[in-house]
């Protein structure tokens, strides 16, 4: 990550969209960046930290957003980053932060994943901007990611409102040329607490006022957006006009180089007068957008006559050939791309032993989000559900409550260490508070890292985002503190049936059991050694003999 930033230290840099956002944040003096790792957003905070910014991983996106809201209440500039589904977790503070507004600047990056390169759904988070009532910018390449981050900070400070910077996988992970302009970045004022009880304490009486204030701000921003330079007109033929935003704009410039284009940068609230005038100026006006028909619905609701894309193009990413098809009203089935080699659990991965055991016992496995979701593929096919971060607990418990005994007793919840800290802990509380009649078995796969997203730290690793030592949350201590009596810490080993015997014992016990299967991810064994030498703290990965035995 970011290693190439240093390769061409000229005024032109080749940056990913994520790096460009981070660089703009650094240039704008953002005081704090917080987030939770999630493809394709992860590299933003890693790069921000590498550029010298104060960046930290929070246990989950809700906490990250709350931390940045606090920073922005104090007058600082703050950046919260997450993948699209992360904003679901953070949506509670989002909606009310729109009411309270901010004193400094608050930029919330939502990194959407159309086509699901590495996600469980392809939700279109542009809907969140409308639902919460926050302005939204959509960059289409790294230069725009840089420029729009600076613009977003200005908008946030001018209207005292959080701003959603909505990017997609292609924008985040494509490297394009950026000419940074640090001298043009706005200068932050010092953080300072100024009391504003009516503005920030959202009891109903104050929230009613705040809601009206929010709608007033949005009206002003819409007015401003009508003439904003964030939206760009590309002159072309009067026969075909296209309204587009983000990456769709890039594809269409190649698919239809002759078209007149209105490229929207600030896509909520929309510059509807400008769009109406543009639509009138061309014979055919198409709205081109990836994912949901967000723009086309909003534009049509205004009575503006525009074409949308056919429903078949709602699914997956757009690219130049698909845009050509949309332009040509082509509804013939698309050729599926030849399947590549699917990813799989590493050969020496400890999770293999766990999934072999689960398979062998024909367990009903409520799974979770991480590398171990690959346990669903052959040869294991040992995961029966995967919904969202932390869902393994709740789903497993629900299954246990209603299934007939002979099935219920085979239900196991499986979650990773980072995911457990993210949102498994509240599920564990549910397990203790509402135990199923025959107990339950939770397996925490602890590989001492957030592996799937590229090995980020989390509160259970004892290291901060920059891999420096930090306070460590000890998983077994949390589990025991909740009142679970059967807590086992075990290192699954090839050729040993220790894990298998432990699982059998737990399933038969009809008690609430937690097995922590602990071994550091083999892909980072080398790095872990370096980190541990650096901090001289107790080994993060080793199982101490005393812990391996059941604690009663």
């Amino acid at each position: 990550m970011a290693q190439f930033v240093r390769m061409s230290e000229t005024d032109r840099m080749l940056l990913s969209g994520d790096e460009a956002i981070a660089l703009a944040a650094k240039h704008a003096g953002v005081a704090l960046g917080a987030g939770y790792p999630g493809t394709p957003s992860t590299e933003i905070l890693e790069a921000f930290s590498a550029y010298g910014g104060h960046a930290q991983w929070s246990p989950n996106e809700k906490v990250a957003l709350e931390v940045t809201i606090g920073a922005a209440f104090a007058g600082a500039r703050a950046l919260a980053t997450m993948k699209h589904v992360g904003l679901n977790v953070a949506s509670d503070p989002l909606f009310t932060a729109a009411y309270t507004g901010v004193t400094g600047a608050l930029i919330i990056v939502s990194a959407d994943d159309p086509g699901m390169a590495s996600s469980q759904n392809e939700q279109d988070n542009r809907r969140y901007a409308v639902a919460a009532g926050v302005p939204m910018l959509e960059p289409g390449d790294s230069q725009e990611a840089y420029d729009f981050t600076l613009e977003a900070i200005e908008i946030s400070e001018r209207w005292k409102i959080p701003v959603l910077l909505r990017v997609t996988t292609r924008v985040c992970h494509s490297y394009t040329v950026v000419t940074p302009r640090p001298e043009q970045a706005p200068v932050p004022g010092p953080a300072n607490f100024e009391r504003d009880i009516k503005g920030r304490v959202m009891i109903p009486a104050y929230a009613r006022l705040a809601h009206r204030k929010l709608r007033q701000k949005l009206q002003e921003i819409q007015q401003w957006n009508e003439t904003s330079s964030l939206n760009l007109a590309i002159p072309g033929t009067p026969v075909l006009g296209i309204v587009a935003s983000g990456i769709s704009y890039m594809h269409l410039r190649e698919a239809a180089p002759e078209a007149s284009v209105l490229k929207l940068g600030l896509t909520y609230p929309l510059p509807l007068k400008r769009i109406a005038a543009f639509a009138k100026s061309v014979a055919r006006c198409l709205v081109l957008e990836e994912g949901d028909p967000y723009l086309v619905e909003a534009i049509r609701a205004e009575g503006i006559q525009v074409e949308g894309k056919a429903e078949m193009y709602r699914f997956g990413e757009l690219d130049v050939p698909r845009v050509r098809r949309i332009l040509n009203y082509d509804l013939t089935p698309e050729q599926p791309k030849p399947a590549g080699k699917p990813p799989q659990l590493c050969d020496a991965c400890q999770y293999r032993i766990v999934f072999e055991s689960l398979r062998k016992r024909d367990c009903i496995v409520a799974g979770d989000i991480g590398c171990y979701t690959l346990g669903v593929l052959q040869p294991f096919e040992a995961i029966d559900s995967c919904v969202c971060m932390g869902a393994s607990l709740g789903v497993g418990l629900g299954l246990r409550h209603v299934l007939p005994g002979h099935q219920a007793r085979r239900v196991v919840s499986v979650i990773g260490d980072s995911t457990f800290v993210h949102s498994g802990i509240s599920g564990l509380i549910e397990m203790v508070y509402n135990p199923p009649p025959d107990g339950h078995v939770l397996i925490i796969l602890d590989n001492a890292t957030t592996a799937m997203t590229g090995h980020q730290e989390h509160p259970g690793t004892g290291r901060a985002l920059n891999h420096e030592p930090a306070n460590k949350i000890v998983l077994e201590d949390i589990v025991r503190a909740m009142g679970i009596r059967r807590v086992h810490v075990v290192e699954p080993r090839m050729g040993s049936d220790e894990f298998d015997r432990l699982l059998t014992g737990c399933l038969e016990s009809k008690e609430l059991c937690v097995i922590i299967a602990r071994r550091p991810c083999i892909l980072i064994a080398k790095q872990l050694k370096q980190y541990e030498q650096r901090c001289e703290c107790p080994s993060a990965g080793a199982v101490r003999p005393a812990e391996a035995a059941p604690a009663h």
């Binding site: 290693q3 190439f4 240093r6 390769m7 061409s8 032109r12 080749l14 493809t39 394709p40 390169a117 590495s118 390449d141 230069q143 725009e144 420029d147 996988t169 292609r170 992970h173 494509s174 490297y175 394009t176 040329v177 000419t179 330079s229 964030l230 760009l232 590309i234 002159p235 072309g236 990456i247 704009y249 890039m250 594809h251 410039r253 190649e254 180089p257 002759e258 690219d319 130049v320 050939p321 791309k337 030849p338 399947a339 590549g340 080699k341 699917p342 990813p343 799989q344 659990l345 590493c346 590398c371 690959l374 799937m452 997203t453 590229g454 892909l523």
Partner: protein, 181 residues
């Protein structure tokens, strides 16, 4: 805001499209890093696209590099790649569809793998083979390799690059990049 003023088909037509394919851990993305960096040093507009996330789990990985006077989409449109570099023979068929008619396919066969300083330098060796077709000066390639690798690995990669550049696949570059696969 950067104002985008170029319009028309001609700009689009002058873009060179390259796809690099392989399996996780083979250095596909390192290869596209180098390629994009060299094109950038040569003063071109460049876009490089990749899908991360699963690459470390041994799955298929591809990276697209496009350069020219002005590049819009970061993705090489299917059937429009001028060059396809494949680091792993099993990945040829799944990716062949990206090549345009007359596009150039470069596979590990392009170099004598046994001659390479290390098999991990295959990505750079194939870049060498590719380099013979591209309007990018050798000194920019070497400068990019020097900056892109630790000191200890530079010599080996330089050697691999030059082997590829002088190889059968790279020995007879064609001026209009139209060389049959």
């Amino acid at each position: 805001m950067q104002q985008i003023v170029e319009t028309g088909q001609a700009i689009v037509d002058r873009v060179t499209n390259i796809v690099v394919a392989g399996l996780g851990g083979q250095g596909v993305l390192k290869g596209t890093d180098i390629l994009a960096d060299v094109a950038m040093r040569a003063g071109f507009d460049v876009k490089k696209s990749e899908i991360k996330g699963m690459s470390q789990r041994g799955g298929s990985v591809t990276g697209d590099v496009r350069f020219g006077p002005r590049v819009f989409s970061p993705m090489v449109p299917g059937g429009e790649a001028d060059f396809l570099l494949v680091l792993e023979p099993t990945q040829v068929e799944p990716n062949r569809h990206v090549l345009r008619a007359g596009g150039v396919l470069i596979t590990p066969d392009a170099v004598e793998v046994a001659d390479l300083p290390h098999k991990r330098t295959l990505n750079v060796a194939l870049l060498g083979a590719l380099s013979a077709y591209l309007p990018l000066p050798e000194e920019l390639w070497l400068a990019s390799l020097r900056d892109g690798f630790d000191e200890a690995f530079f010599a080996g990669n330089r050697k691999a690059f030059l082997i590829g550049r002088g190889s059968k696949a790279g020995a007879s570059p064609v001026s209009d990049r139209a060389r049959p696969a």
